[in-house]
């Protein structure tokens, strides 16, 4: 085919660096990365954005996203993002956090950042375990789910129930936009991208705290193929973590249009 008669439908976004990531094959952390990068490209925000990386498999996010980044101690990304945003109110500030980071060690920081209505955007990757450290149980691990620290399956009698972070944060008045999406198929990935865009719109208009929870796979620690991980996510995670909009401020509803 003559190249002059072709259009480019998709090309790797400029907001990703030209680096091969350390993520395992088929891990949907990578899908979240390219969606965020695409939205930042499309909105022309690359020179204005400061990311805050967390601790977890996404600890090297600063090597993969092609804009300014700082690295927070485990769980403290929302606190560091608060400081960055208050010092540089014209910057677009995001955190990228796993479920261990956000819902376990960092639970206090995320709750208070949302309660204060900090004008930051949080991308919360929920893969129902501590991926980086070898697949231990997280607060988000499903009842009965086997992990390296719950080898017989999570027993809610002794280990409690999973935390639904979006529902919890949505109760706070400071939170403007809190939604849950999933990365398991093309349709849901498109919806996730729209939500990421809305989160940045909320921040650009000064409407306060926004969070997009993204259900994500961990093929390595789930001990499944990447394809089967997508199916497991759909069949097991979505029933416990329903997709939807948990908080949409009336002012945000307008921009969602």
């Amino acid at each position: 085919m003559d190249t002059q008669e072709e259009v480019i439908v998709y090309a790797r976004p400029d907001s990703l660096t030209k680096t091969n990531t350390h993520y395992c094959p088929g891990c949907t952390h990578g899908v979240a990365h390219h969606l965020i990068a695409e939205v930042i490209d499309e909105m022309g925000l690359r020179e204005r954005t400061i990311g805050v990386a967390s601790v977890g498999c996404s600890v090297f996010a600063y090597n993969y996203m092609n804009f300014d980044f700082v690295q927070a101690p485990h769980g403290r990304a929302p606190a560091m993002a608060t400081g960055v945003k208050r010092v540089f109110p014209d910057k677009v500030v995001l955190t990228y956090q796993g479920d261990g980071d956000l819902a376990s060690i960092g639970m206090a920081e995320i709750v208070h950042a949302a309660a204060r209505g900090e004008n930051i955007s949080v991308f919360f990757l929920n893969n129902a375990n501590y991926g980086m450290t070898g697949g231990q149980m997280a607060p988000t691990t499903l009842p009965g789910q086997k992990t390296t620290s719950s080898p017989n399956g999570r027993d809610v009698e002794t280990q409690g129930y999973p935390i639904r972070a979006s529902e919890l944060l949505a109760t706070l008045d400071g939170a403007s936009y809190v939604v849950r999406r999933s990365l398991h198929d093309p349709k849901n990935i498109r919806l996730a991208k729209k939500a990421i865009r809305t989160a940045f719109e909320v921040q650009l208009r000064g409407l306060g705290f926004s969070m997009v929870e993204l259900l994500s796979t961990c093929p390595t620690n789930w001990e499944m193929t990447p394809q089967n991980s997508l199916k497991w996510l759909e069949e097991h995670m979505i029933p416990y973590y329903p997709l939807g909009d948990y908080k949409v401020n009336p002012a945000v509803a307008e921009i969602k249009g």
């Binding site: 439908v9 790797r12 997508l230």
Partner: protein, 83 residues
């Protein structure tokens, strides 16, 4: 006739995860057993005709390894009927 497309998969980024293989509505992608990347993966590639340039493989690829091209339909319309 559906639009014609093609994909180029980057050896630098592809990890042979097969998510694109499972997602392609035309079932025209497969890992190439005859090639191996520097990282040791068999990269994905088109193995037969029928790509429409829909872009779905690129949406699901965790490594943003795929560039998708599609025939420019304006060019097709410019060709007179029967030409």
């Amino acid at each position: 006739m559906p639009p014609k497309g093609r994909i180029i998969v980057s050896d630098l980024y592809c990890k042979g995860c097969e998510l694109c293989v499972g997602a392609c509505p035309q079932a025209v992608i497969a890992l190439n057993p005859d090639r191996i990347t520097a990282k040791g993966y068999h990269p994905a590639s088109l193995f037969k005709d029928g790509c429409t340039g829909c872009g779905i493989c690129a949406i699901v690829c965790p490594d943003a390894a795929i560039t998708v091209y599609r025939e420019d339909l304006r060019a097709r319309r410019a060709i007179p009927a029967g030409a």
